[in-house]
Amino acid sequence: MYDVTVIGAGVVGGLVARALSKYKLNICILESENDVAMGASKANSAIVHAGFDAKAGTLKAKLNVRGNQMMEEVCKELGVKYKNNGSLVVGFSEEDRAVLGELLERGKANNVEGLRIIEKDELHQMEPNLSDDIICALYAPTGGIVCPYTLTISAVGNAMDNGAELKCNFKVTDIEETENGYRVSSENDSVTTRYIINCAGIYSDEIAKMIGDNSFDIHPRRGEYILLDRENEQIFSHTIFRTPSKMGKGILITPTVHNNLLLGPTSYDMTDKDDKDTTAVGFEAILNSTKETAKSVPINKTITSFCGLRSVGSTGDFIINSPKKGFINVAGIESPGLSSSPAIAEYIEEMLKEDGLELILKPEYNPTRKPYYAFHEASAEEKNAIIKENPAYGRIVCRCEGITEGEIVDAIRRNPQPRDLDGVKRRTRAQMGRCQGGFCGPYVIEILSKELDIPYENITKFGGESLINVEITKGGQSQ
């Protein structure tokens, strides 16, 4: 019997599990996919919002500002890339300027620090590649960027290092109340638990319905992106938002913590929670908006495009409540959910404490975790030292991003273990460069197959039926 079961290994579930893993509790994380960070937490804008968007008094406003303050420290502890690059909301007209003024006031009410309106000259000095049609901007120096999937992976990994258990391919289909808690079941497995924290993202309404809570609905809203190749010199250093309008927050341009340039997201309301298709209409919208915002963007450097689904809740705010003893909803966590995630975890800790769960600190709890080793960032001496220690660091497997066999093996052996190609990609960046795994994919499969003792032809892209090779050729033989 577990004390706490977290359903959903996104950034919210991951950080909740990690926060609770400092206490003497038996914790289990259930995830329907083959790996963690397979939902919204892997496909979003990766912005740590300053907190001027949400209306004062909402959970969104409160947790965003608090999360923003916590993010740098959490990332440092977990060895995750974070950068306080600052955000700019740019205005093209006097109407935009008025909206920016409102945002400024709202930000002040939410206690966001350092906000100010800047004028054209200063703005263009900060970002010379902005369109000349832009006349002013709201500058938010506390805005930042983070790697959302490594944050999720590292949060779950740190929770596991501190004793939590992760069960992947466990899709919760039923929850039964028992004498002293719940029985949570998938098609072929079940666990019993005293507490359930429902962090199931876009499916959190369906999990709530399993215990009879019909108080809210979640619907998906599509957001598509185009990702450009890494450059030595960034053409934008801040995150550039458009002034929000009735049509939404608009399409942003932002550097990522890995020096790629990210363009997006679009915004379309959907009904199908599984439809993560990108669309021709979406690409056009992104390109058109980008052309308005920037003088020039090297679209020919596109390396991939992707789509994430926002979990839009029916209440307009984050839905964090306890509809039943021992059951907590963490639902409707749309943007700024990533920014708020460390604060959400803290909030849940408080809720559990208030509910009477005994929280006794574990003396052996370790909040830190080594970052995934990045050979290409190391100094010459460090490189030589690590190759001497383990020659596999001398062999570059991914030529685009310069990732070594040592890094891949190391990532496969750590919590939470990747079991497919995409899992290795998110942890090491192998296959994430301009050739998108065309060159190193076959080698990564070889390493995965050897490390996990899975036949070469059974390795998948992301679990399920996503096989890379379907059979052995006439002349081939299984490796």
């Binding site: 599984d274 993560k276 495009s305 020659p391 062999r395 998108q436 399920g464 379907v470 059979e471």
Partner: protein, 411 residues
């Protein structure tokens, strides 16, 4: 310190090494990141290599072996499993492998022979999902020919580059069904002989002016929607067709792999994506040469070997300090001629100029002029972007000119 360091042990790197050795420089080191010499030819197990060079039809590995054998016989030093990470303007090379760790070598001359890579699907912004079952044609070739695995059974290929055509045949021979090869342009970028031998002989339809507009499937590819495109290459409404398949191969172009050329501050051409070179294949940085697919994408490996010999010999002259009478003549093109290699002439000696055209043209005259006077013409019945052409310029022709112009006229 080494006299000559060659980066890349494919056909270009090996030919350059042999040429340099035979011209008197013995202190040579080839650095190759793969576990074998031979480059991309290792996975090209079909035949058709060497017709031009050896007068016989060899497979890729056979062709490569002729050079590797020579390299071994001559005792030219090479390091395998060694990735070059950086080259500087003053020819300091940083590399890493499991035995030596991270190491640096200074060279008197450097030859860049890193080959090219395939353009990935990601660059195309095709709508739809991102399931397993999407490969570049060269990756599929590696799975089938080197690893012994079949990546799929029902295939649609986008792009009619040579690798795509070769793989259409290869997958068919392995028992897969290739439903169509879609090509965005109204003509194929591949060699005519490959269309004949790889598609027509197997009844595989080549759909010109067609593209994939949507990818379907959740875990694995389940199908594609293709459509005909207009002159602006935009999909035509109503022409959509759904083809069920489990695999999509992309053969949408090759890109010279010039990351290291950039670290060495070598000037690159936006058209070829390779270095700008003179007749010796010397780049904008003195003593750094470039040849093979890293310089511009070749369709025949025979020409790669030839070009590498030029670079190898010239590197020897450079190391020995030999100077010809020098000139500086840029070669300009008119757009119909997309590019030439070399892009400039710096020595008074006969030069073979290679070039590609930007469209299919019939009954044409290729004209070489100095801007005012025509110096040379060459008639061709047909020219196509997929086939490289060449013209040899005798040194007498450009003795007194400041610039050269290559243009194409249709009759």
């Amino acid at each position: 310190m080494k006299d000559l360091v060659i980066i890349g042990g494919g056909p270009a790197g090996m030919s350059a090494a042999i040429a340099a050795y035979e011209n008197g420089i013995k202190d040579i080191l080839i650095l190759e990141r793969d576990s074998n010499l031979g480059g991309i030819l290792q996975q090209c197990i079909h035949n058709g290599f060497g017709l031009h060079k050896f007068g016989e039809e060899l497979t890729g590995p056979e062709y490569a072996w002729r050079y590797e054998k020579k390299v071994r016989e001559l005792g030219i030093e090479f390091k395998l499993n060694t990735m070059v990470l950086d080259v500087t303007e003053d020819k300091v090379i940083t590399a890493t492998n499991t035995e030596d760790g991270l190491f640096q070598i200074k060279a008197k001359a450097v030859i860049l022979a890193m080959g090219c890579r395939e353009r990935s699907k990601g660059a195309l912004n095709i709508a739809g999902s991102r399931p397993a079952g999407i490969y570049s044609a060269g990756t599929a070739q590696k799975y089938v020919n080197m690893k012994g695995y079949l990546p799929g059974k029902n295939i649609v290929i986008l792009g009619s580059g040579d690798i795509g055509l070769i793989m259409a045949r290869r997958m068919t021979l392995e028992g897969a069904k290739v439903h169509a090869v879609c090509e965005l342009m109204p003509y194929s970028g591949g060699l005519a002989r490959n269309i004949e031998q790889c598609l027509n002989d197997f009844g595989i339809p080549l759909k010109l002016s067609h593209t994939i507009i949507q990818i379907h499937g959740k875990d694995r590819v389940e199908g594609v929607t293709i459509a005909k495109v207009d002159e602006k290459r935009k999909p035509i409404k109503g022409s959509e067709e759904y083809i069920p398949c489990d695999t999509i191969l992309f053969s949408v172009g090759l890109l010279p792999e010039n990351e290291l050329s950039k670290t060495a501050n070598v000037t690159l051409s936006p058209i070829t994506s390779g270095a700008v070179v003179d007749q010796d294949r010397q780049t904008s940085v003195e003593g750094i040469f470039s040849c093979g697919n890293v310089l511009h994408v070749h369709d025949l490996v025979d020409y790669v070997s030839e070009e590498a010999e030029i670079a190898g010999k010239a590197a020897v002259e450079y190391i020995n300090g030999i100077q010809d009478e020098s000139v500086l003549i840029p070669i300009n093109t008119d757009g119909k001629i997309r590019y030439t290699v070399p892009q400039r002439i710096t020595k008074k000696k006969d030069v073979a100029v290679y070039f590609r055209v930007s469209n299919i043209y019939k009954n044409v005259i290729i004209k070489v002029s100095d801007g005012n006077n025509t110096l040379l013409t060459k008639k061709k019945v047909k020219v196509a972007p997929g086939e490289m052409e060449s013209i040899t310029l005798k040194k007498e022709i450009f003795e007194n000119v400041k610039e050269l112009y290559f243009s194409l006229e249709e009759k």
